[in-house]
């Protein structure tokens, strides 16, 4: 497993305490799990996705990721409606390991209230949390 200093944590996304990331692009938020989460889980073998059109409130469980070790729930960082899911993950869950911020994204959400993103952590705050 990676040392904290080796983690890939981009500056242009926001982080949750449960190790998801969220990024706003015009009016849509893309969400995935971050490098720490994919590294801890190990090789991911299945991603359970919600359906387009489902609505969630901030903190709701929206799906799960399964590795050979364990199943972990994913919690949505922002309230809103699912506009797109990453269907490529159905056949290639390894994308989450290989490219968690790019081709391994998980859902896209039309946020109910963009200001909820302000509750999330930036990279330095997230790193502080990891270091405890």
């Amino acid at each position: 497993m990676k040392e904290i200093s080796d983690l890939n944590l981009p500056e242009d996304v926001k982080y949750t305490k449960d190790h998801e990331w969220a990024k706003l692009d015009s009016d849509i938020v893309t969400i995935g799990i971050n490098d720490y989460a994919q590294d801890q889980l190990g090789e991911i073998v299945f991603v359970e996705l919600p359906e387009v059109g489902d609505t969630f409130s901030e903190g709701d469980e929206f799906g799960s990721v399964e590795s050979v070790k364990a199943v972990s729930e994913m919690y949505i960082p922002i309230s809103g409606e699912i506009t797109e899911i990453n269907e490529a993950l159905e056949d290639a869950p390894e994308l989450v390991n290989e490219s968690c911020y790019d081709s391994g994204w998980i859902i896209k959400v039309k946020p109910a209230d963009v200001s909820e993103l302000d509750n999330l952590m930036d990279k330095p705050a997230y790193l502080d949390m990891l270091k405890g």
């Binding site: 090789e43 073998v45 299945f46 399964e66 070790k69 869950p93």
Partner: protein, 485 residues
């Protein structure tokens, strides 16, 4: 006993029966017909089912070879935490095979099934006595089915009282099937964390318990192997808001004959006969998950129920508040015979000795290995103890690597990566049936593996090396499963 049991040896390959099939080969000779041949109407005939064509020797060799690939408690220690893989005495099988039981038929009716009904009635009474409850059903097919029965009973109780509830509390040290049982009954699981010392704190329960919560599901001892010593206080909190306490009795092997769950605030409890009461697991035979309840919940038990009327026994179905039938006939009867045989063989002192020795053995393992493996919760445990791979991380060796390597030493690996509250969990349950000599062998094997983790980590990454198949690619198997041959 200085030598480890694992060794290499000649293992036979064996193809599928289909691949051995040879046209025209047959394992039996049918007698010549002594009546005139009469052909069936064509509308009733079709192609014969496709079956492999084999001789008796083909079949005998096939299954003998497959059995040699197997590993069971009869071949070696099987310290699979949370599963109580104890030795199942052979007398249980002898009793279940008695002709009167083995040839009994569920359609024979009460009059011709008095022996079987008496056994079921008595077994219910024994289990009620052992657990401290008022009534028992033997019907559920296994543990998770017993859980479902228990939660259906809780659901029926709240429905009868006029107001259904929507939630149920489940601690992080409960068995993984608990939330599934709750969800199947329409309840939302409210998860709470155990305290720093690995057990539930009453305040955590009080914080979420309300009048829309049906109750709590507690595994006691919990999956960390600790006794929930606040259980009475927790039960009082739940009862004060009108809720019920479900006890997951899968870990009953730690407290049998010592603690009666019915006397510490639990209202409904399932047992696993195939854990605590020495009947086979899985492929060795079906399970059985009896459910015990307090008096107030008795009307909701599944039907049919066995009743004693003077000196005769009968099945009754007249029970207006029952949750209904959960199984064909009355559950897995042959498993009940084996558990009955076990209880009678052991007697009450024997059963409490079982739990005391199971706890002693687990604590012996814990103390012997705690310098070798990291022990996240270092307290006296019950029937199992949970280590992890923290000490081995610097050598990039995981719990999985050590578990695989144990196969080479001739042991079934312990439960790994469960419970989830311990990262990289390595959960050992030696059970009472392993002698000190066998347990020492296991301890020595784990110590040798920990040394290999330092000296030769690559060997552990490749393990197992002596088994018929070596390290399997579990990731590809899970990502791209091949479900057909």
């Amino acid at each position: 006993m200085n030598q480890q049991p694992g060794t290499s040896g000649l293992i036979f390959n064996e193809p599928l029966l289909w691949d051995k099939s040879c046209k025209g080969r047959c394992a039996m000779s049918l007698p010549k017909p002594d009546v005139e041949r009469a052909n069936l109407d064509e509308s009733l005939t079709g192609d014969a089912p496709e079956l492999p064509q084999l001789s008796e020797l083909d079949v005998a060799r096939h299954y003998t070879r497959l059995s040699q690939w197997n590993f069971g408690v009869d071949s070696g220690m099987y310290p699979l935490g949370s599963c109580t893989m104890k030795y199942n005495p052979k007398t249980n099988e002898v009793q279940a095979a008695r002709q009167g039981f083995a040839a009994a038929h569920p359609f024979a009716g009460d009059k011709f099934s008095q022996g079987a009904l008496k056994l079921m009635y008595n077994l219910e009474q024994y289990l009620a006595e052992i657990t401290g409850f008022d009534a028992v059903t033997l019907q559920p097919a296994a543990g998770a089915h017993g859980e479902l029965a228990g939660i259906l009973i809780i659901h029926a109780y709240h429905a009868k009282s006029g107001k259904q509830r929507s939630k149920i509390i489940i601690p992080d040290t409960a068995h993984g099937t608990n939330p599934a049982s709750a969800t199947l009954c329409g309840y939302e699981s409210i998860n709470i964390k155990s305290g720093e010392n690995g057990i539930l704190e009453p305040a955590a329960v009080a914080a979420v318990m309300d009048e829309d919560t049906a109750g709590i599901m507690v595994t006691n001892p919990n999956t960390l192997g600790f006794f929930e010593s606040n259980i009475k206080e927790i039960a009082d909190i739940v009862h004060s808001k009108g809720g019920l306490v479900y006890g997951d009795g899968a870990n009953m092997n730690a407290i049998m004959g010592v603690v009666k769950p019915g006397e510490i605030g639990i209202d409904v409890l399932h047992l696993n006969l195939h854990k605590t009461f020495a009947t086979p697991h899985g492929g060795g035979g079906p399970g059985s998950g009896p459910v015990a309840v307090v008096k107030a919940l008795e009307p909701f038990l599944p039907i049919p129920r066995v009743e004693k009327d003077l000196d005769s026994y009968k099945l009754i179905t007249d029970s207006p508040d029952t949750i209904g039938r959960l199984h064909t006939f009355y559950g897995h009867f042959s498993v009940m015979i084996k558990a009955y045989s076990y209880i009678l063989s052991m007697g009450s002192k024997g059963l409490s000795d079982v739990s005391k020795l199971a706890v002693l053995n687990a604590n012996y393992v814990k103390e012997s290995l705690k310098g070798t493996l990291n022990l996240p919760y270092d307290m006296p445990c019950m029937h199992e103890c949970v280590f992890n791979d923290e000490f081995q991380k610097e050598h990039h060796i995981t719990t999985m690597d050590m578990a695989k390597r144990l196969l080479d030493y001739g042991f079934h690996p312990p439960t790994v990566y469960f419970p989830l509250v311990v990262e990289g969990a390595f959960m050992v349950e030696p059970t009472e049936t392993e002698s000190k000599e066998y347990i020492d062998q296991f301890i020595d094997a784990v110590k040798a593996i920990a040394k290999e983790a330092k000296d030769d980590p690559e060997k552990l990454h490749k393990a197992p090396l002596l088994t018929k198949v070596t390290r399997l690619d579990e990731v590809t198997a899970a990502r791209k499963p091949c479900l057909r041959g």
